[in-house]
């Protein structure tokens, strides 16, 4: 057992904050990604890495990524796609829901390596930002959100819920949406929104 070295007591002056700022702005990141497509590397990897090619929201990507990384941390910390949220990191809240090959998964419980050769869709990939997905519009219409933190996960789960055929009644929607916690308590709006979007999907 080794005692940690005594670091001494440090106090900071205004100048030191200024310097810290200057240093930080230079701290660039080198890319270790063997990307054959546009996969912007936000950080260098450490430890054992894993190569993978995947399609994210329709764009082919190749990355060399920490074998321990979850799909969620790949999206957020490597690819800067912040729409997918972390609410527990344990598969208990649904905030990180994305689609892998069209099926909803908790991206925090999915190793990044598992999406090799698969298709991933996130909240950023369901509309072009101008025309909304009918589910997004329905969430606005029914105020199916408050803080908006669980919302991307709710919407991804909701789209899958309709696609699975689990939106035939309010009871069924409630049941099949119960893996996505909304602590703000927007559940009634969420059920209303899914009913609306499911009807629209039926018509088209």
């Amino acid at each position: 057992m080794s005692e940690q070295r005594h670091q001494g007591v440090v106090t900071f002056t205004r100048r030191e904050v200024l310097e810290a700022g200057a240093v930080a702005s230079f701290a660039g990141v080198t890319s270790s990604s063997a990307a054959d497509a546009a996969a912007p590397a936000r950080q260098a990897e450490h430890g054992i890495t894993q190569r993978l090619s995947t399609r994210i929201n329709g764009t082919a990507m190749a990355l060399e990524i920490d074998a321990r990384a979850s799909l969620l941390d790949m999206l957020r910390e490597r690819l800067g796609m912040m729409g997918t949220k972390k609410g527990c990191d344990h598969g208990q809240c649904g905030a990180c829901t994305v689609h892998v090959d069209g099926r909803r998964v908790a991206s925090c419980l999915t190793l990044a390596a598992k999406v090799d050769g698969r298709e991933v869709t996130t909240i950023e990939g369901i509309s072009d930002g101008k025309t909304l997905h009918p589910m997004q519009q329905a969430f606005i219409d029914h105020d199916a959100l408050q803080c908006g933190y669980c919302t991307p996960g709710q919407i991804m789960a909701a789209i899958a819920c309709v696609r699975e055929g689990h939106a035939s009644s309010r009871e069924q929607i409630r049941e099949y949406m119960s893996g996505n916690i909304c602590r703000c308590g927007a559940y009634i709006g969420i059920v209303n929104a899914i009913e609306q979007a499911a009807r629209q999907t039926e018509r088209t």
Binding site: F12, A69, C88, Y149, I181, C182, A186
Partner: protein, 843 residues
């Protein structure tokens, strides 16, 4: 100008939110950011003898591991853990000691999150544990002296003289906020300034409080929290990790980000503490309240000042001219509790509104009538009028929407069509209408854009929609090009947004700044043009932009309060003002269904009617009320932190085991907002809604459970086993499930089942079955089949013996019957009322 009724408008930031665009604290891109992870203390109290970091340092990518040796110069100031504490709070990692379970003892910083997590697990602290007490009933818990918080008249005297009294104690468990956005801290440096990004309801506390802790000039620091992924009071303060991350970033001269794992937040962030509530009520036989004595004990940490006084709103609910409320804190070795949505109002309304229900039941009075009968004209504590009080209207309107008239007084007297026990409950609530100072700066440009910088934090309650409404109501601006900065100390001073004062503070500030703008425009372009399209008006006089600023104060507040506010210190006025007392009011009606065998409780319908002053946005306010009711459901039937006093640990410290309401739990919640402006309080006529929404709703559910089952459960959450136990008190229908469980376990037949079986066989063989001993359904079936049954049974001859074999899973007592000619298996099941509801014989 009279106040306009706000039209139906979507939430202003709903579009961004459905696109996943808002950048919450941990979502900002910070080049070169390092990832941190904390190592939580594995003891509840004691000394740190050593911290072995050797193995952890070998994890590839680790940059540095900090321990208490690095953070000793962080100061504990009155700002520690938020602006509010009366004495310095507690900052972990300053010393070689531990004061509560789970506090950080080391901070690992690494190039990647994965490396930080792996290394944090490899850090090996060695402790010398000390004795501690982690629960209020353990030896070593320190009971502080009793405090009287509110008093009017002579409550003890009036209680002694009252014709009817009740004396009951309700227990409220420890609960945790669990906003879905986990608390995170990111510190970066931009143009030589430190930027702190943390989801908070109090950005100002970060600018000023954190600067104080770090010994920095607040002017070197900005705090940014434009969106908060749910606050509920847990994000009122600086967190235990905030200063650690900031100090680490300074020492490393690199930006650092830490997302606290939820399991650790159960031990580092605030929570609603355990409390017990004794209520003594004296009343006349007609139900007139004559005295209320209300005594609370609430658990606290050893080192913080979270208030235990619960009397604020409950002393104003009814005409209780003889009132006394007291409280005391019980200090144990845990982290500090804090404000959780309706921090005192929810537990106190739960306890008192259930007690009033008990009183009504004991007196044979309708609980709704009891409340109407005791309405208060004046504030019983101060004798002043209320700024507005439409509680009676809330109760009457709610009763109408809910169809309260169908309620039968007796418990266990109503059933659903499918045979479930049906219960209807009512309760009411209030929440102080406080107002905090706020500053608003409005800039209108000729290019068609408008920008508002304002005091206040958006955490989902809809603050952006509220302030936008007032700007749009007053000025003809392009609403699609209106941008709003909130939660940014660089844009405007920020206040602690809590206590439901956000709306009533920001809305009038927004209205005031818009009115000021119109005046300025009128000076510039004339009244007529100022009322028209303001962008065009500016263009016409060749002004690119116009900016005005207004500071808005609560009623009677001095200007000096602005300074307090902008430093993140609580600066709100109310609910007691010079001329009046101000509260928001609410009535809740709940319908519960209790499945008689499993005792599963469902809440298919709640009706809530609210007096929250003028409604600033109908959708966001309705959502707030629904959210409050969802929370009340959680409190009534789901949420409890299971603390193991042997270890000082919350055992269920994640979302799988700390059960919060999910979609399948929630039925219909019908909300009506009275929408009557309270113009005494502020120029927008707005009162708060986010917390009053929850107040009383738990009691409505608990009262409905009592009405359904006859069982008065005086702790939370109510669980199936609480109702199964009810059967022991001789309630026939619920009795069945418990009796069945016992019979199954013991494999013992029901007392009279053999005799009943014999009687059945004899009766059937003779063609005269004992129909009176059967359930109507079985009797009907027997009539249809009697012809065959009689023939077959008669052919077997008389019964020689009956031998019990087992109790089947469906609760049938299985017998072997020896007839003169053959043996047969026969089964019979008796209901709690002694009748046979199922019988079967192998013929």
């Amino acid at each position: 100008m009279s106040l306009e009724r706000n039209p139906d408008r979507p939430r202003i930031d709903a579009r961004e939110k459905v696109l996943g665009k808002p950048l919450f604290a941990a979502d900002r891109e910070v080049p070169g950011v390092l990832h941190a992870m904390t190592v939580p203390a594995a003891i509840a109290k004691g000394e740190i003898e050593a911290i072995d970091i050797e193995q952890a340092m070998r994890v590839a990518g680790v940059v540095r591991i900090f321990t208490y040796l690095d953070f000793q110069d962080i100061r504990e100031t009155p700002a520690t853990r938020g602006g509010g504490g009366n004495v310095p709070g507690y900052q972990p990692m300053k010393r070689a000691s531990v004061r509560h379970r789970g506090e950080p003892v080391a901070l690992v910083v690494a190039e990647t999150l994965e490396a930080a997590i792996e290394a944090a697990e490899a850090v090996k602290p060695r402790y010398r544990a000390a004795a501690f007490s982690a629960w209020h009933d353990q030896a070593g818990a320190e009971r502080e002296p009793l405090q009287v918080d509110r008093e009017a008249g002579d409550a003890p005297g009036a209680l002694a003289a009252a014709a009817r009294t009740i004396d009951v104690t309700y227990l409220h468990p420890q609960q945790h906020h669990n906003p879905i956005e986990m608390i995170s801290t990111t510190v970066s440096f931009e143009s030589g300034r430190m930027l702190v990004m943390e989801g908070t309801q109090n950005a100002a506390a970060f600018k000023f409080g954190l600067a104080g802790m770090l010994g920095q000039d607040p002017n070197m620091l900005d705090a940014s929290s434009p969106y908060v992924g749910g606050g509920f009071g847990q994000k009122n303060n600086l967190q235990e990790q905030t200063a650690l991350v900031a100090r680490a970033a300074l020492l490393l001269r690199r930006p650092v980000k830490l997302v606290m794992p939820r399991s650790q937040l159960f031990h580092t962030a605030t929570y609603r503490p355990f409390s017990s509530h004794r209520i003594r009520i004296g009343a006349s036989v007609q139900g007139k309240l004559e005295a209320v004595l209300y005594d609370v004990e609430q658990q606290n940490s050893r080192f913080d000042q979270f208030e235990a006084a619960h009397g604020q709103h409950v002393s104003r609910m009814y005409a209780t001219s003889n009132w006394r409320s007291t409280n005391r804190r019980v200090r144990v070795d845990v982290q500090s509790p804090g404000h959780q949505r309706a921090p005192h109002e929810h537990p106190s309304s739960y306890a008192t509104e259930c007690a009033y229900d008990e009183l009504a039941h004991a007196l044979g009075i309708d609980p709704l009538q009891l409340r109407l009968l005791n309405d208060a004209d004046l504030d019983p504590i101060t004798g002043k009028p209320f700024s507005s009080r439409r509680l009676v209207e809330c109760l009457r309107r709610g009763a109408e929407l809910f169809d309260w008239g169908r309620r039968q007084h007796a418990t266990r007297s109503m059933r659903t069509a499918d045979g479930q026990l049906l219960g209807l409950g009512v309760a009411a609530g209030a929440y102080k209408a406080a107002v905090s100072p706020a500053l608003a700066r409005l800039r209108i440009r000729a290019d068609g854009s408008t920008h508002l910088s304002i005091t206040g934090q958006e955490m989902g309650q809809g603050m952006r929609s509220v302030v936008a409404a007032e700007v749009i109501n007053v000025l003809n601006v392009d609403p699609n090009r209106l941008t709003i900065d909130m939660g940014e100390t660089a844009a405007a001073p920020q206040h602690l947004t809590a206590g439901s004062w956000g709306c009533a503070s920001a809305a009038p500030a927004a209205r005031a700044v818009a009115l000021r703008m119109r005046e300025r425009l009128a000076e510039l372009v004339g009244i007529e043009q100022a009322n028209g399209n303001v962008h065009e008006a500016l263009a016409r006089v060749r002004r690119t932009s116009l900016e005005v600023e207004v500071a808005h104060l609560g009623p009677g507040q001095p200007k000096t309060v602005l300074d307090r506010m902008s430093r993140g210190l609580p600066a709100a006025a109310g609910p007691e003002y010079e001329r009046f007392t101000a509260f928001s009011w609410i009535a809740h009606f709940a319908e519960v269904h209790v499945e008689p065998t499993t005792c599963r409780i469902r809440v298919p319908r709640v009706v809530s009617v609210v007096d929250c002053g003028r409604v600033m946005n109908h959708r966001t306010a309705t959502s707030q009320v629904r959210g409050g009711v969802v929370w009340a459901f959680g409190a009534a039937l789901r949420e409890i932190a299971e603390v193991d006093p042997r270890y000082g640990r919350v055992l269920n410290n994640d979302l799988a085991d700390y059960v919060v309401p999910v979609n399948a739990d929630i039925g219909d919640i019908e909300v009506e907002l009275l929408d009557e402006p309270d113009t005494q309080l502020n120029i927008s006529g707005a009162k708060g809604v986010g917390e009053v929404a929850m107040v009383g709703a738990t009691a409505a559910i608990v009262n409905a459970v009592h009405h359904a089952t006859g069982k008065r459960v005086r702790h939370l959450p109510i669980r199936i086993e609480d109702l199964l136990e009810a059967s022991a008190e001789g309630q026939p229908y619920l009795h069945e499930s418990l009796a069945l469980a016992k019979r199954l376990r013991d494999q013992q037949p029901a007392a009279r089942s053999e005799a009943m079986l014999r009687k059945l066989i004899v009766g059937l063989a003779a063609g005269t079955p004992p129909y009176d001993d059967m359930s109507p359904e079985l009797a009907e079936l027997t009539r249809q089949q009697l012809h065959f049954l009689q023939k077959d049974l008669a052919s077997l001859g008389a019964v020689r013996s009956v031998t019990f074999k087992e109790v089947s899973a469906s609760g049938m007592d299985v017998y072997e019957v020896e007839f003169e000619k053959e043996r047969r298996i026969a089964e019979v099941r008796l209901r709690a009322d002694g009748r046979v509801d199922a019988a079967w014989i192998n013929l």
